[in-house]
Symmetry: C2
DNA sequence: TTTTCATATCATGATATTGTGATATGTTAT
DNA sequence: ATAACATATCACAATATCATGATATGAAAA
């Protein structure tokens, strides 16, 4: 990307003044920015994916709906850990569940979730 | 406490036994799982996106290449904060930079980055 | 009812992350 | 050389997150 601004003489392209940084470029970039709250929401959303245990659960549920003890077994993790992460995933609308007797069958809420997981996986595998 | 092996009749689908959870389903889901290291890498990758300041920087750089003080100005953040986050972004190959005199011009390394950012944004905006 | 099992919640110590002041490095101008 | 400036690194307190033991809830079996 080329740097273009009002400095028609081109002499100041590489200067960076505190009170007047590359004004146009900064202004243009700034105008397209989401709001503070949207950045917060977005960071919270990605935070879900930033823990290996949660990723593993998402990964499992992208293949099949499972109950808590299935997940414990598949991941060789204790029940508290899995339940805790499921609570976080639930609170963020990443997974949903139905009660079936004393069991809870979990599944992903949204295809977006699977998509982001897979794009990320593709990225790190390349 | 009885143990069921070989549920060939498939009648026990909704039962959950500690020593033999829904065996087939668990096995199938497990087989498709990436390795432990891949989950770690993936979680590290998503962790980059889990901080509002880093997201803002990524957002700005998806519009234009910018130097550090441009970013400080656009985001109204002090220079140490921006530099620190740029270090993290650099270390994770999210951004690259060229030195131009005493300035450093930063840009995104990879279209994957912009894509993940945008899919996430789309998700939280819907 | 009592027991057993599946799951959820609470409390906590260990660990990681964040933003920032202080300071260092390196470049350009004078 | 000295000053001014852009950026990087270090150190650290405040905060957040993690896995897990202890415990609670609630449903089915005995």
């Amino acid at each position: 990307m080329e740097m273009k601004d009002n400095n028609l003489d081109g002499k100041n392209e590489d200067m960076c003044e505190v009170f007047n940084a590359h004004e146009d470029v900064v202004k243009r970039a700034k105008q397209r920015m989401p709001s503070e709250d949207e950045y917060l929401d977005l960071s919270e959303f990605f935070k879900i994916f930033s823990n290996p245990t949660r990723l593993k659960i998402i990964s499992l549920l992208s293949v099949d709906d499972l109950c808590v003890c299935d997940i414990c077994e598949a991941l060789d993790l204790n029940q508290t850990t899995v339940s805790n992460q499921l609570r976080i995933l639930r609170a963020n609308n990443i997974v949903k569940f139905q009660k079936e007797g004393k069991m809870a069958r979990y599944s992903l809420t949204d295809l977006h979730i699977e998509m982001i997981y897979k794009v990320g996986l593709e990225h790190i595998l390349e």
